[in-house]
């Protein structure tokens, strides 16, 4: 496996406080990766570190197998595109912004026109190429910033909270842009978000940060309770879990591993619960359901599944999942 980044013993301090502490983190190349965590978890700090705009207080890391040093940072930067949460656009037109980025990246001048055109096409801003950056809407600004970041065709694209403060249409456009860029061979896209469902709706590869440290798993469908052999009792439900040597007080169930049906399924899955559908929402072309089975379960399904099951709020549904879908900690 090739890695986009390999981090060892990384610490970043703000004053005397350690805001990022990563003993080891390997980020595979060629994938779409979500960097998940609550506000203040260290997502932006990690993204800035990966974007080479922040240097670690201690530790070392490689980018595409090249060790990072301050002297190599300029050369390594050419492999990166970074889009901040609220991107700053320079005075001038959208095209001027992209041209400047190419100039700073040292791109040969004769290629620039084609690269600008390609970047604008990828983000759907060809019509606004000559428009002043100051007059763009929030969604257009994000797309212009992405065009500027990808104009030199970096292998790694880093996006800090790309979906924040955007309307539904802009989020859909941005999702398509990100998925399209990530679908190209050798491209690695890392985006941060605090929204678990949003992360899981785009990718299965999630890095979870909690208070500046790596945490084991995204905690969706998180339940507290007590374990008795291979059954976990939340107080309202008894859930079959994989048998392990240690007692557990928390479990989490991956929302993509929950199967929904109108009738009870007869399968090898050990957990079956009847519930009532209380919420249907769409995120990044993935349908998010919330089902009340005594405990509220979050489930992610495709739009096709939604249509074929003819679901509506208030209807009864069966949820099924394997005991192996339950993570215990």
């Amino acid at each position: 496996m090739t890695f986009a980044y390999q981090l060892q013993h990384i610490q970043v301090h703000a004053g005397s406080q350690c805001i990022l502490d990563l003993p080891k983190l390997d980020i595979p190349a060629g994938k779409l990766i979500a960097l998940l965590g609550d506000n203040g978890a260290g997502k932006s700090t990690l993204l800035n570190l990966l974007a080479l705009t922040t240097q670690p207080s201690q530790g070392e890391f490689t980018l595409a197998a090249q060790p990072f040093t301050p002297t190599t940072s300029k050369q390594m930067q050419r492999q990166l595109g970074y889009v901040a949460q609220q991107p700053y656009l320079f005075h001038g037109s959208v095209e001027n912004n992209i041209q400047l980025a190419l100039k700073l990246q040292g791109s040969p001048r004769e290629h620039n026109a084609a690269l600008v055109q390609s970047a604008l096409e990828q983000v759907g801003l060809t019509q606004l190429a000559n428009q002043s950056a100051a007059s763009l809407s929030g969604g257009e600004r994000k797309r212009a910033a992405i065009a500027r970041a990808i104009a030199h065709q970096p292998k790694i694209l880093l996006l800090d909270e790309p979906f924040s403060h955007l309307d539904t249409t802009s989020r859909k456009q941005l999702t398509q842009i990100i998925q399209h860029y990530a679908s190209q061979p050798e491209h690695t896209v890392i985006f941060s978000t605090h929204d678990h469902l949003q992360a899981l709706s785009l990718t299965d590869d999630v890095i979870y940060l909690n208070q500046g440290k790596l945490a084991p798993a995204p905690r969706l469908n998180l339940f507290h309770g007590s374990q008795q052999q291979h059954v976990f009792d939340t107080g309202k439900l008894k859930i079959e879990i994989p048998q392990g040597p240690q007692k557990t007080n928390y479990i989490a169930i991956d929302p993509k591993q929950i199967v929904i049906s109108k009738q009870a399924l007869h399968s090898s899955m050990r957990n079956h619960f009847l519930g009532r559908l209380i919420l249907i929402a769409e995120e990044n072309n993935v349908i998010h359901l919330t089902v009340d089975c005594g405990e509220n379960f979050h489930v992610l399904i495709s739009p096709q599944s939604l249509e074929s099951l003819d679901l509506s709020v208030g209807k009864e549904l069966w949820l099924s999942f394997k005991s192996n879908a339950v993570q215990c900690f």
Binding site: N48, A51, K74, Q77, R78, P87, L104
Partner: protein, 230 residues
């Protein structure tokens, strides 16, 4: 009142009839101020940008010093330079006293802290995302400084214009170092002082009006720049 009206009419006549002596004084003033502004700006703008973008020991003290120098009376600068450039001073052998060069040096020293301080303020007022954005796009060192200057160009131009305004309106150092020599170092401000003391109120008033016109053009340019920016 009629004295004032008569003087105003006489002054207008000097301006509209392109009185050679009056325009000689104006051109001397403009020449000295423009050269001093160009020299000061070419040093103070880069120094201001570098100071604003970097953290170093003594930065606070430097800014306090610049603030003090901004408020320094021009006659003090004139006095110090007079001591340096006079025949028995350490730089007396340069033979610069009562030359345009001496006035240019004095005005450059006078407006350097103004332009540098206002440049620092302009860069500090830049959007906090500007430098991280430049860095994320691969800019380093002088590229960050250069593109920060381009982004903040209107505020930096305003700083330079403020320096020019100070130079063209300056009298103390120009009088002490230039000597108010007709056709050579006589500037608008020194001429106004001289003509008024001689009772030539019309000439003084004409020069005053032209000085006001230059000031008006400066302030108009500033507000035009600010409108362009917004």
């Amino acid at each position: 009142m009629s004295y004032f009206v008569d003087a105003l009419a006489g002054a207008t006549s000097l301006i509209t009839q392109f009185d050679p002596e009056t325009y000689q004084i104006v051109s001397t003033s403009l020449f000295i101020s423009i050269i001093a502004t160009l020299i000061a700006a070419s040093l103070a703008v880069p120094a201001g940008i570098v100071t604003a973008l970097n953290h170093f020991w003594g930065k606070g003290i430097l800014q306090h010093l610049l603030n003090t120098l901004m408020a320094m009376p021009t006659v003090v600068i004139g006095l110090l330079l007079y001591g340096m450039l006079s025949r028995y001073g350490p730089l007396g052998h340069w033979d610069l006293l009562y030359t345009r060069t001496a006035v240019i040096i004095a005005e450059t020293i006078l407006i350097f802290p103004i332009i540098m301080n206002l440049t620092i303020a302009a860069v500090n007022a830049a959007d906090s995302r500007l430098v991280p954005t430049l860095r994320s796009l691969g800019a380093r060192g002088w590229q960050i400084a250069w593109h920060t200057a381009i982004e903040m160009r209107f505020a930096i131009i305003a700083a330079v214009i403020a320096g020019f305004g100070r130079a063209i309106g300056e009298i103390g150092a120009a009088m002490m170092l230039g000597g108010n020599i007709e056709g050579f170092t006589r500037t608008m401000t020194t001429a106004i002082a001289l003509e008024t003391s001689k009772g030539e109120f019309e000439t003084g008033l004409a020069l005053g009006m032209l000085l006001l016109l230059v000031t008006f053009i400066l302030t108009f340019s500033l507000s035009w720049l600010q409108r362009s920016r917004s």
